[in-house]
């Protein structure tokens, strides 16, 4: 188990001391956080690390996961898509199922806490099922900048019951009656997904996955999700291949709360069928070491999202010292600065252009890689997240106490 002191060589002693100072007044706080999956996806990855670190700091932190039916997760996936702007139909039966799952889960957890933090729409409705005895915070990881109206109308009454909301970017914030805060997700530099690897470890993963190393590797790691536009990435690769020899790796896992993944995966396989040097690899949720090795062995990291909450795969790619080309959406814009550590693109042609541009400039790729790693080290590591969570706890509990004084 990673301890806070293990981060000392990476972030320095001052950052850790400050975290401990911030936590001092919060010792003994009974903190409950709930999301919808224990494995797969950025939220689970963050909680897996943050919760033990909060416990080490003396906060009685517990992480719970809601359970739901396949109908429930299909509906919440639709809600997720609709909140990111896609047209989805929300039926009365779906809404009833959502409320039923909230009722069942509400009876599973002990809400006798000092602070409750709920992630995303799946468990958002729990707040309507239990008497509120402490501040509740809703943490939204989704790009809410252009939600489908019906989806937000469904969710908003639940969100308004909370005492605060947390969004990733200011463009995702909504008009709400309670305070809103901004916290960006982060990566753990010591996790299997991000720790340093030897060349031997990297080569071994490429060999296991049967991906050649004798040509430049373009890599997109993400769930098989239409918002990640894997088909657009293949289109761009075809354009690049007319001029440059390279291979494309599309690697991704699935999450238990994402029933759409299998369909998109199938579409990607069909699109790539017959194309030379395209490697589609479905990874297990626990394949962190493989992801790490793939990223470290790649020449250019791609994240051609059409919507993106934050884009932790961008953060991961930057941390590995690689230039990243990403869609000009959501949190990608907060991480990639043109010509500094990569490029943001607005089209398939744009992706193809910047891939070709970078493939012919190895020195620029190296320099961009250095810049990107430094950016992540200063801003997007889990210790910064921990510091922000502690700040959030202070802000929300102080406000709760002062309004009741």
């Amino acid at each position: 188990m990673t301890a806070l002191n293990d981060y000392r060589p990476i972030v320095g002693p001052a950052a850790l001391r400050m975290i401990r100072n911030l936590a001092a007044d919060l010792k003994g706080t009974r903190f409950l956080t709930i999301n919808s999956t224990r494995t797969g996806g950025g939220v689970a990855e963050i909680l897996e690390r943050l919760v033990p670190l909060l416990c080490e700091l003396g906060i009685e932190a517990e992480w719970e996961v809601i359970e739901g039916t396949s109908d429930f997760f299909r509906f919440t996936k639709n809600i997720h898509n609709a909140l990111q702007g896609r047209e989805e139909e929300l039926t009365e039966a779906d809404i009833e199922e959502y409320e039923k799952v909230q009722r069942i889960n509400a009876s599973r957890f002990d809400f006798n806490r000092d602070l409750v933090l709920i992630h995303d729409p799946q468990p958002a409705g729990l707040i309507a099922q239990v008497p509120k005895r402490c501040p509740w915070i809703w943490r939204c990881h989704i790009d809410l900048s252009r939600p489908q109206r019906n989806a937000w109308r469904f969710l908003e009454p639940y969100v308004e019951l909370y005492d605060a909301s947390v969004f990733t970017l200011p463009s995702f914030a909504k008009k709400l009656t309670h305070p809103q805060y901004l916290i960006t997700p982060t990566i753990d530099p010591l996790s299997a997904k991000n720790r340093e690897l030897s060349k031997k470890e990297i080569d071994s993963v490429y060999e296991d996955l049967r991906i050649p190393r004798d040509m430049p590797v373009l890599l997109q790691v993400s769930r098989f999700d239409s918002f990640k536009d894997p088909l657009g990435v293949i289109d761009a690769f075809e354009m690049v291949r007319r001029y440059t020899h390279c291979c494309l790796v599309l690697a991704g896992g699935t999450a238990t709360d994402d029933p759409e993944g299998a369909t998109v995966y199938q579409q990607v396989r069909e699109r790539a069928g017959g194309l030379q040097d395209v490697y589609i690899r479905e990874l297990e949720p626990e394949a962190d070491l493989q992801v790490n090795a793939l990223q470290r062995g790649a020449d250019i990291i791609i994240q051609k999202s059409l919507r993106e909450g934050f884009g932790l795969t961008v953060t991961e790619g930057l941390w590995k010292g690689k230039p990243v080309i990403g869609g000009a959406v959501g949190g990608i814009l907060a991480q990639i600065y043109d010509s500094f550590n990569g490029y943001v693109v607005h089209s398939t042609e744009g992706l193809a252009y910047w891939i070709r541009f970078l493939l012919s400039r190895p020195e620029l790729r190296r320099r961009m890689g250095e810049n990107g790693k430094k950016l992540v080290q200063q801003n997007f590591l889990i210790t910064q997240h921990l510091r922000n969570y502690l700040m959030l706890m202070h802000a929300v509990t102080d406000r709760w106490n002062s309004t009741r004084a």
């Binding site: 002191n5 320095g12 002693p13 001052a14 950052a15 850790l16 001391r17 400050m18 401990r20 100072n21 911030l22 936590a23 001092a24 007044d25 010792k27 969004f167 200011p170 463009s171 914030a173 909504k174 008009k175 305070p179 809103q180 805060y181 901004l182 916290i183 960006t184 000009a328 959406v329 814009l333 600065y337 500094f340 550590n341 607005h346 810049n371 950016l375 200063q378 801003n379 997007f380 910064q384 510091r387 922000n388 700040m391 959030l392 202070h394 802000a395 102080d398 406000r399």
Partner: protein, 237 residues
């Protein structure tokens, strides 16, 4: 939320000093949590209007506390307004004007707001009827922040000791003592200069600190300059 916290927790593994003795410089650190206001601007006209209408704390955040926010561009321009004009509008002429503006000169946020608004208004007038628009996805979002100030538990008795300790505290300490202090104290001076005044007779150090063109430096750069000045002490030119 409390904006001041003078107690700090013990930290296992850290060699904590006892409370700072009288006359010592006790280093504080600070941390902010950013809050969206829900207001945004997609063009320069909307930015101008926003600057005139938002709460004072929003102006304060974008001009002063923005130093505590992550941004690669902070190394180029010193405030959020200048950064946005350059990155989103591609209007470097205005970005340069806004970057050059010294927010520590006006006495109040009211005055600062007026200078900013006038600068932008002049720029708009000179380009009428053209209004610069932000690239898609690059709207300006007005924000505010909450700040928490903490005792670091680190203190120094002499300037050279202080110089050695700057890397033991978070760089936010530089913001609190060097940037924010000028607005906290009626004489507009930073905490280090005031301390040197109270405890030492070394006018040379004070003059060199006062001569720092800090407004255009990042927190890390100011820290480096202060270490250089304080560690060389009276031997410095």
């Amino acid at each position: 939320m409390n904006t001041n916290k003078t107690e700090s927790g013990s930290s296992p593994g850290d060699a904590r000093k006892p409370p700072a003795p009288e006359g010592a410089f006790a280093l504080k650190e600070c941390s902010i949590l950013v809050m969206p206001t829900g207001r945004s601007a997609v063009n320069l006209r909307e930015l101008h209007q926003g600057i005139l209408e938002v709460d004072e704390e929003v102006i304060e955040h974008h001009l002063f506390r923005c130093h505590l926010k992550p941004s690669y561009e902070r190394s180029i321009f010193p405030n959020d307004f200048a950064i946005w004009c350059a990155r989103a509008l591609g209007d470097f002429a205005l970005a340069e004007k806004l970057a050059t503006f010294d927010p520590y000169v006006p006495d109040s946020i009211t005055d600062i707001r007026q200078v900013l608004a006038d600068t932008i208004d002049d720029h708009l007038c000179a380009r009428e009827p053209h209004v610069p628009w932000a690239k898609e996805g690059f709207s300006f979002f007005f924000e505010r922040s909450v700040i928490l100030i903490l005792d670091s538990g680190v203190w120094a008795r002499t300037p050279s000791e202080l110089a050695k300790l700057f890397y033991e505290v978070d760089v936010s300490s530089i913001y609190y003592h060097f940037f924010d202090a000028r607005r906290r104290h009626s004489d507009g001076r930073d905490d280090f200069s005031r301390w040197l005044d109270e405890t030492h007779e070394d006018g040379n150090l004070r003059r060199r600190i006062a001569g720092l063109d800090f407004h255009l430096l990042s927190l890390e750069e100011v820290r480096g300059e202060l270490i250089e000045i304080l560690s060389r002490g009276t031997a410095a030119p």
